[in-house]
Symmetry: C2
Subunit: 539 residues, 2 copies
């Protein structure tokens, strides 16, 4: 398995990385061992957490890392590069990632600001060349998976959530990877056929408004001969539906209104040819004055043939009100006809849903079973980019710090392993330790220091410890999962089980999660801060 | 040339399109001639216009349209599709776009709400199957090109604008197509090597903070032997730079502060190995207390070898203030040393720039020559999705309307050609006419009707008329440009020449542009509205 997108290759990088690689090569610095951390400084969407996505595909990229002859030919045409030596082009043409080591938590892990997500050990020039592509391959997946998890948390666990974002996504890959990472973050599947095929995730869909629009009233009056599922007995589905519609209206089971015949014709054709998965979009004309009645007429007609209609979709108007009216009608009609399952037919809602709309639907009451979420799920309108960064933390065994007047921009120097320390009530904090330092162990006290505030320290005696820095690329093999269904289950387990406390997960004003350093790392960091700070002379 | 992205293929569609195609096939409706319009209802970013992007790549998709055996195999595994017939799979396996005709304005045309951007004539089932992919391939390109044009309008025509968005883009294609359509919309180029190679757009880049971070103070004191560009005379660039730094400080040409030696070492290595394009990032420690002085020291040293440093980049802090201080220093130092070009070295600014920040920089004054814009350029944080839609307007020669209680959602029925009517002061309005109706001609009066308001009508006698519905796909050949540099010039020409009035282009509260119907289309639309409206009985 290679990366699913042909655009993800070595030349998907920023030009300055190539110019830096040249400079390093020309000054003999390109092979200096270096470590970069990938991390983010603040969680997206004003939340406290993120869901780590993109690891497997990033490793597929690393596994196949090379510059093609075409890439190098293109570079050579650049006048800025005219003076680069043949030795450099030869070097660039043969580099790969065999000298690279990458550590990360499993994909799908709930991650927090500051904890290193990837630690990448590589020759200096290669580490720079990898930077832009890795950021591209991790930032958006993590953003989307986080967005999906937040939607899932607000929608609740009993609803189905389908991603419908293809048409508005940012490019083909915004759609395909958007589908994948929505699924990772807790959605049930997608409408996107290609994403389904590439990643084995469930794909759903029934019909659009265009299906209904294509019909005229006169299209209703065709015979639609159908056989009973068991007996094979033939009957006219059209006649059955028209009869049912009359019955529904005469017994005042549905609102008193003449329904649209073109719509009923479209519904009949759809149900006739898709009797095992007849889910109809009912808002082309009017949900309560036409679509609902026409849907029920077809559902009753299909029932005669032994098929159960799946349900309907609402795509405009007051979804809360409509869903409640539809549910009541389903129950009423089911009772009248003696069809138990009618009350439980699916109500799917769509139309610009996002976390805010879902919260509003929760407040006003909502009888939907499923949501279709498109634009917001994949484009993340609340924050369309994750500010993940890739920073040098060690060069040739010497820890490096990046100072800034803005404390949040200070990097935590040195190679670090990260651990999640659990108590009886779930995760207590994440701890970074030096790879040569003490490993946190269950049942043993360990001092955990806030990176910036020396008054914030805690001794933790964890019940269990989970390593967050495992070797996912050893120079030869990818050692991380490509089973997205399992990763999705892992995300859901973390979100549902209390492993991560609910106050860290909530959408509004969540409690920040503690991320801390071992005493050794804390001292190293603060020694470097003192050393590197320019002392101003005040006169 | 095929589509640059392997993900853009027939199976990049929503499942419901396939289910509708099956339904149409099974009921004998799949070959009914149909026309769909692609258009948008409101311009993005609270503006009044958009820049049409994505056409050529969409046509590449159409040109190569087919379902692969793998696609069909995957569909067949879906239990919802288990009952589809062998005839359908055979049909799906052999469809292409030879019976499709597509009309559109040239890519890069400034477009407005309501005017049909694409008119797609195709057999009904094929038109549905195309919908999702075409929307994906047009919405984001148009969104990004529009965002870029707005940035360009605010930045002004004298600045260079570079797109730096790869690391935060929504997927690999969000980056690659983001680069392309920023260029189309008026940017000068990108940092993205792959986008540059694929589309022949200019690529720029120099170095990052990581270049500086990798050095220690002790790295400064190495010999860096350089030959004079003309005479070949050798000298030590390090010594020249250290001498220059001392001179700069002794003559109080630069702020009085000890600069960072590691930074100077990094700058020297970069300048030494890239003397023809030495543009240095000066904010790793402090722009005014370290980076500027170190840059100047290297620039003076390079000058001794006959090379002119390109300039510097500011990436944090108060860009307006810094740029003015830097420019003053450039001029002062240039005068001291007698280097005329010093005052004109490039100041590039980056760091979360967007339209609002640029407007603020315009207000406070800014001495930059160039901007690097990343995240906002490609992810369009102001509005990360364009709501372009694809609506059925004609079936088998019968115009179709989609009514809605929300007037803005009413579609304009029937096949339409669009025209732009120009007066002496630029474009007056866009007019839609029936393909069989009167063609607007220069020097001839024509009645133009607001689609919704019968009191808003105007007789226009255009000076010139530009067709906006030309045949770009005739079933065999693509008839639209793939020359993105020419398209970009066309965008700039429309924005700069007054072809489109400035009040339509401004970022805040622009004047809406008039889009109108011929009397014939107006009457057809309103006849259909009357005909299709359900008359309620009030009791």
């Amino acid at each position: 398995m290679a990366h699913y997108n042909n655009l993800v290759r070595a030349s998907l990088t920023d030009m300055y990385q190539v110019k830096m690689a040249w400079t390093d090569f020309a000054t003999g610095r390109h092979e200096i061992p270096s470590t970069f951390d990938y991390f983010f400084r603040t969680a997206p969407f004003k939340g406290a957490f993120a869901v780590f996505g993109g690891l497997r595909q990033a490793m597929e990229f690393v596994n196949d890392y090379h510059f093609s002859a075409e890439d190098i030919f293109a570079f050579k045409m650049d006048p800025d590069m005219a003076h680069y030596t043949a030795e450099f082009w030869q070097w660039l043409g043969q580099i790969d990632c065999r000298d690279v080591r990458i550590y990360a938590p499993p994909e799908g892990t709930i991650i927090f600001p500051r904890t290193p997500v990837l630690r990448v050990e590589a020759p200096l020039a290669i580490n720079k060349l990898l930077e832009s592509t890795l950021l591209n391959q991790l930032n958006y997946p993590t953003l989307v998976a986080t967005n999906a998890a937040r939607i899932r948390l607000v929608a609740g666990w009993s609803k189905k959530i389908w991603e419908f974002g293809l048409r508005r996504a940012q490019g083909a890959d915004g759609a395909v990877s958007g589908s994948l990472y929505c699924y990772l973050g807790g959605f049930d599947g997608t409408s996107n056929c290609l994403a389904g095929r590439l990643f084995g995730i469930p794909v759903k869909g029934t019909h659009a408004h265009s299906q209904v629009q294509g019909y005229k009233d006169s299209d209703l009056h065709h015979e639609r001969i159908m056989g009973d599922r068991k007996t094979g007995e033939k009957f006219d589905l059209t006649e059955a539906a028209i009869t049912a519609r009359t019955t529904l209206q005469q017994h005042e089971l549905v609102p008193d209104a003449k329904t649209n015949d073109a719509e009923l014709a479209a519904f009949l054709d759809f149900g006739w040819k898709n009797p095992t998965n007849c889910l109809l979009l009912v808002d082309t004309f009017s949900v309560l004055r036409s679509g609902l009645t026409n849907f029920l007429a077809v559902a009753i007609a299909l029932n005669r043939a032994g098929y159960r209609a799946s349900g309907l979709r609402l795509d405009s108007g007051d979804l809360s009100y409509q869903s409640k009216e539809v549910r009541k009608t389903f129950i009423r009609v089911g009772e009248f006809f003696g069809f138990d399952y009618f009350g439980k037919m699916t109500i799917t809602e769509s139309n610009d849903l996002n976390v805010d709309v879902l919260e509003e639907l929760n407040r006003t009451g909502n009888d939907a079973d499923a949501y279709g979420i498109g634009t917001n799920a994949v484009t993340c309108e609340g924050q369309p980019a994750l500010g993940g960064v890739y920073k040098l933390v060690d060069i040739a065994g010497t820890p490096r710090i990046k100072l800034s007047e803005d404390k949040i921009k200070i990097t935590i120097p040195g190679q670090k392993n990260a651990w999640r320390l659990f108590g009886l009530q779930g995760a207590i904090l994440d701890l970074m330790t030096s790879p040569q330092g003490t490993i946190p162990m269950p049942g043993q006290d360990i001092l955990c220091c806030d990176p910036f505030d020396e008054t914030k320290r805690a001794v933790v005696c964890p019940v269990s410890v989970k390593p967050l820095s495992t070797l996912v690329w050893d120079g030869v093999n990818i050692n991380c999962s490509n089973d997205y269904t399992a990763m999705r289950s892992y995300v859901i387990e973390q979100l549902r089980s209390g492993q991560i406390r609910a106050d860290h997960l909530r959408t509004l004003n969540p409690t920040p999660y503690k991320v801390s350093l071992s005493l050794e790392l804390y001292q190293q960091m603060h020694d470097l801060m003192t050393e590197e700070t320019t002392i101003e002379r005040l006169t």
